[in-house]
């Protein structure tokens, strides 16, 4: 089965800096990964996803990198803003199975 974990439970950055949130997974058969953002008191919201046939995918101010060799993915947030403060979850899945979520990293942005 899959297990997904984050390297750091908390990350503090200054406004305007770039943020990097890391995640490791265990199942080499996982073929799909996704990042969610959860603000206090709300449900998680989709940020960006990536399939295992890709190494990199970019969205608006966010980039996800996937390194299948070491089973690692990261979320990069450019020019971090106070509104980016939240808990970030990575999740992965093997085809035909349900998403397995990591425990979350709390990003704190100070201005």
């Amino acid at each position: 089965g899959e297990s997904v974990g984050l390297h750091l439970p908390t990350l503090s950055v200054q406004e305007g800096d770039n943020s990097i949130i890391n995640c490791a997974y265990s199942n080499s058969a996982s073929d799909y990964f996704i990042w969610y953002k959860q603000e206090s008191g709300k449900g998680p919201q989709f940020i960006i996803d990536i399939r295992s046939n890709m190494d990199k995918r970019q969205g608006q101010r966010v980039t996800v990198l996937l390194n299948k060799t070491v089973k690692h993915l990261s979320l990069q947030i450019a020019a971090t803003q106070p509104g980016d403060s939240a808990v970030y979850f990575c999740a992965g899945r093997e085809a035909g199975t349900a998403l397995i979520f990591g425990k979350g990293t709390t990003l704190s942005v100070s201005s």
Binding site: I34, G43, P44, F89, A98, L99
Partner: protein
């Protein structure tokens, strides 16, 4: 925002009582999920549904049952609540199984005394 409504949003109950949480969607999505969220554990899948009357267990299904008699409603029942089931419960929906883009509700906070 996806049309997902969870009820109740907050509930306090006593050990041994039955509890039902409701998830209602207006998106006509096929897939519906119940997760629980606890400090240090992230989100864990309890049960999910891939159609009316079609449900399956997730990783933490013990002590929970679900029912889906209509596309729009997915009920989570705790037959006899225990303190270990104190948690925040999230419903999620998806219109396809090939991706993981789930749309989550706002959560239901359950406290079992």
């Amino acid at each position: 925002d996806a049309g997902i409504t969870q009820s109740p949003r907050h509930k306090v109950t006593e050990t041994g009582t039955p509890v039902t949480l409701r998830c209602h969607q207006t998106e006509n999505h096929r897939y519906m999920y119940w997760y629980r969220q606890d400090p240090g554990h992230g989100l864990r899948l309890i049960h999910y549904s891939y159609g009316v009357k079609d449900t399956d267990k997730g990783e933490v299904s013990d002590g929970y049952s679900v029912s889906r008699s209509k596309t729009e409603d997915f009920l989570l029942t705790l037959e006899s609540a225990t303190s270990s089931q104190t948690s925040v419960y999230f419903c999620a929906i998806s219109d396809r199984d090939s991706t993981g883009e789930l749309f989550f509700g706002e959560g239901s906070r359950l406290t079992v005394l």
